[in-house]
Structure formats: C-alpha cells, structure tokens
C-alpha cells in the first residue's frame, strides 16, 4: 500500500531531537545511579526523594530496572528523531516514532501514579524524563498527524 509522508517544520525536527538527547542524558544518569546508588545526588528528605523512588518496588517493571527501560526508550528516540530519520520516506518509521512516544507517555503516567500514590515521593531526574516525554508528545501530536495525512492540514477558516 502506498502512503505519502509529508515534510515537517524544521522546529519540530530540532525540538524533538534536542528533547530526545536531553531525555537520553537523564536516563543515562538514572541508569548509572541505579547500579551505583552512591552516585545519586538528590535531596532525601521531604517530597523530593530520588533514592526512595529509584529503590522502590516500582523501580522495576517485569524484573527490568525502569531506568534501563528509559535508557532503551531514549536511545531509540534519539535515532527516530534524528534529522535523517525525519527525512526518511518510510511511513512506518514515522508511525513507530509516534507510537513509541505515546507508549512512553503511558508508561510515564504509570510512573507518576507510582510516585504520587504508591511511593509518596518525587524523583527530580525522573520528573525531568517525564517532562521531556510530555514535550515530545506535544510536538509529535502536533506534526505527525499532518505529516502522515491523518488530519486535514488546511488551516481552519
């Protein structure tokens, strides 16, 4: 089946790539501190308590450290949001980028639930990842539907 892929604005390419790199930075740090907890620099009293979050039962998903899953997510996202990937004509590559972000946001919502309701503390670096993922979702929901022809790109009169 032939599907057309529209080009997207430069700002979207630059923004998504930058956000993915920032997310990758956060997730690298969280992965390092998962395996070397002493390297974690964060408040440990009050609402902000990174160690309490990163060592909680919710820090694992199906036995895999969430930090490692985050690292995997952002390695993939850096590749999918690179200018080369944006230029690709493969329709499914762009669908994959969008799907990855939507699934990532869903996972982020679960983690926010875990932090607020189950653990009762927030992790600053995790929140950084959450904000980056949310920002990626905003940008991609703005450009991907148009890029893939899911919506009418004509400005509303």
């Amino acid at each position: 089946m032939s599907r057309t892929v529209e080009s997207v604005p430069r700002w979207a390419v630059a923004t998504t790539f930058l956000l993915s790199v920032i997310g990758l930075g956060f997730s690298i740090y969280l992965t390092i501190t998962h395996f070397q907890p002493h390297a974690l620099v964060c408040a440990d009293t009050g609402t902000i308590n990174c160690a309490k979050v990163t060592t909680s039962a919710q820090a694992y998903f199906l036995g895999i450290p969430v930090a490692v899953l985050g690292l995997f997510n952002f390695v993939v996202m850096v590749a999918l949001t690179s200018p080369w990937a944006w230029r690709a004509k493969n329709y499914w590559l762009h669908v994959a980028r969008f799907a990855f972000t939507v699934v990532g946001m869903g996972f982020v919502l679960w983690l926010i639930y875990a932090e607020i309701i189950l653990i009762g503390n927030l992790c600053l670096y995790c929140t950084g990842v959450h904000i980056v993922t949310f920002a990626l979702l905003i940008v991609l929901t703005r450009v991907t539907p148009t890029q893939l022809g899911w919506v009418d790109s004509t400005p509303l009169e």
């Binding site: 022809g149 919506v151 009418d152």
Partner: protein, 307 residues
C-alpha cells in the same frame, strides 16, 4: 527539507477533516486530567492513621542471648571477611579532645550513636553496634524495630535504642533515635522521637561533616545518619554494610544465624562488628584482653592499621 505543512495540502485524504491541532489538545488534556486527578486523590485521600506514640516491644531473652553470646570462633573465623556484603570500617580521628562520660564517678570513653528508627542504614548499623558493644558490656531494654515501610530498603528488621540502657566497666554508650518510622502526613516526614542534647547536636555539627568523614562527597551529606562518634577517636557515618543484606529476614532469623560463620548475613554483621570492636579497643586500652587480643579483632586492627 521541511517546509511548513500549513502551506501544503496533504496528498492523502484527511481522516474526517480533523484539524491538525486536535491530537495535541486531546493528548495534553488527557495527560493533565490524569496528573491533576492523581494529585487531587493524594491530597484529599485520608492519610493512614498515624500515632507518634508507637508501642515498644522489648527484645526477648533468646534474641538478646544470641546477640550477646556470639561464639568467639565465629568472630575469629569471619575476621573481616564479608564477600557478599562488603563492609566499611570506622574512620580514625586524631587531635580531638577525648569524648567521655562520667558513670558512677568514673570517666569512661563515650560512644555516641545518632540515628532514627525509619532509617534503613541505621537499621543495618544497629546490628553491628549491638554485637560489638555486647563484647564490652550489657544492653537492657533494647527494643524491636524496623525501618520505614515506604523508605529505601523498606521494613529492614533491627532494634531501637530509644529506651535502652547500657552498662560496661570500659565504655559508656548513648543512643539517640531522632524519629520514629511512622510517616507524619502533616510534615511528609516522620514523627519525631528523641531530641538531641546540645552536646549531641554539637558533635553532629562538628564531626558528621565532609571535613571529618572522607566518604562524604558533598556538604549535602553533612549530618547523615547513622552517625557514631567513638570517643572522638573514630567516626562512623552511614551503614557499615548494605541494608539489602538483611532484606526479608526477621530479627530472629538474623540473630539465630549469628553462630554460623558461613552465613553471608552473619559475615557482614560480624566482620563489621570486629572492626567496631577494634576501634573500641583503642578507647579501652585493649581491655578486655580476651576480646581485644582475639584473632578476629587482630585481623580488623591490621586492616585498619591500628596497633
């Protein structure tokens, strides 16, 4: 590349003619509703009933006996060997005035412990302290405790010094537990327990700092608990071994295994206790000799470069 799609008509038919921003508004709306909802639930939900005056359960005679009667062969066999849970030794301190306490008219070197019941690192450290100190004297009214249920290494089984007393012809001991392990919703922390005296506060402010604790990597770690000042000759900040070693074990299981030198948990407790014992022997001028000249303590002294 990239030109504003607003200037280009999509070449594939739009689905239902939906505007380009619709997906974004839906996504933002859904995320915000969920997050705001979670915060609202958290803020309006009834907090679990918390009572600052927790019940106190004294340690039973069997457990006390297991803590205070660890076979000499176990101390000597283990030495400072703890391959599963690596241990860290107290830090020597020099050039400071001796920390003492007058007990029955006699000035004795004072060992000051500062910790909290919620603290999992304190939970691990108390095993080391109780076993080491029991070689020099006797605890009474030690209580069962466990670290905070929602903190790191949750529910680590341990003891509390909150109502305990300690007698020894060689040393004095003072244990201060600053907080319970019961969360206080009003402060988003724990209910306070024992307030530090001015002297205890001064010790923490001066010695529980990056200046004297070499393992501290930033001033943010100043004041960390557990903190132990051994007569101003040795300092210990943080747990001697990871609380993870105690995960899932009860006090009874841990204490009853203290006679097994091959048990990894026992090795962590005994190896760290030997190092604490070696430090205490400096304060007591190597008394009692049976303890301070034992093979296990000698091994610790050698590792810690204590003569």
């Amino acid at each position: 590349m990239a030109k504003s799609p607003a200037n280009k008509k999509a070449q594939t038919p739009a689905i239902g003619g939906r505007p380009a921003g619709l997906f974004t508004w839906i996504a933002v709306g859904v995320v915000l509703v969920i997050v705001v909802g979670l915060v609202a639930i958290k803020m309006t939900s009834g907090s679990p009933a918390a009572n600052a005056s927790t019940t106190f359960e004294a340690v039973d005679a069997t457990t006390m006996s297991q803590l205070s009667s660890v076979p000499a062969s176990v101390f000597n066999t283990v030495g400072i060997t703890s391959p599963v849970a690596p241990i860290s030794a107290p830090t020597p301190l020099s050039g400071q005035p001796a920390l003492t306490k007058t007990v029955n008219g006699k000035s004795l070197p004072l060992i000051q412990y500062v910790g909290a019941e919620y603290c999992p690192y304190c939970a691990a450290e108390r095993w080391t302290s109780v076993v080491a100190l029991s070689r020099f004297g006797t605890f009474s009214n030690l209580g069962f405790a466990q670290s905070g249920a929602t903190d790191v290494y949750p529910n680590t089984k341990t003891f509390t010094f909150r109502q305990s007393s300690y007698t020894s012809p060689y040393i004095a001991f003072s244990g201060a537990e600053t907080f319970t392990s019961i969360p206080n919703p009003a402060t988003n922390f724990y209910f306070p327990l024992q307030k530090l005296t001015a002297t205890q506060t001064a010790l923490v402010k001066k010695y529980d700092t990056m200046k004297y604790i070499p393992t501290f990597t930033s001033t943010q770690e100043n004041g960390s608990i557990p903190f132990i000042d051994m007569g101003n000759k040795f300092l210990s900040a943080g747990a001697s071994f990871t609380p993870a070693a105690l995960a899932g074990l009860t006090q009874g299981q841990i204490a009853s295994a203290l006679s097994d030198a091959t048990n990894p948990v026992t090795q962590a407790i005994i190896a760290s206790a030997n190092e604490h014992t070696a430090a205490i022997c400096v304060l007591t001028n190597n008394k009692p000799a049976a303890v301070c000249s034992s093979a296990g303590v000698k091994a610790a002294k050698k590792a810690m470069k204590i003569k």
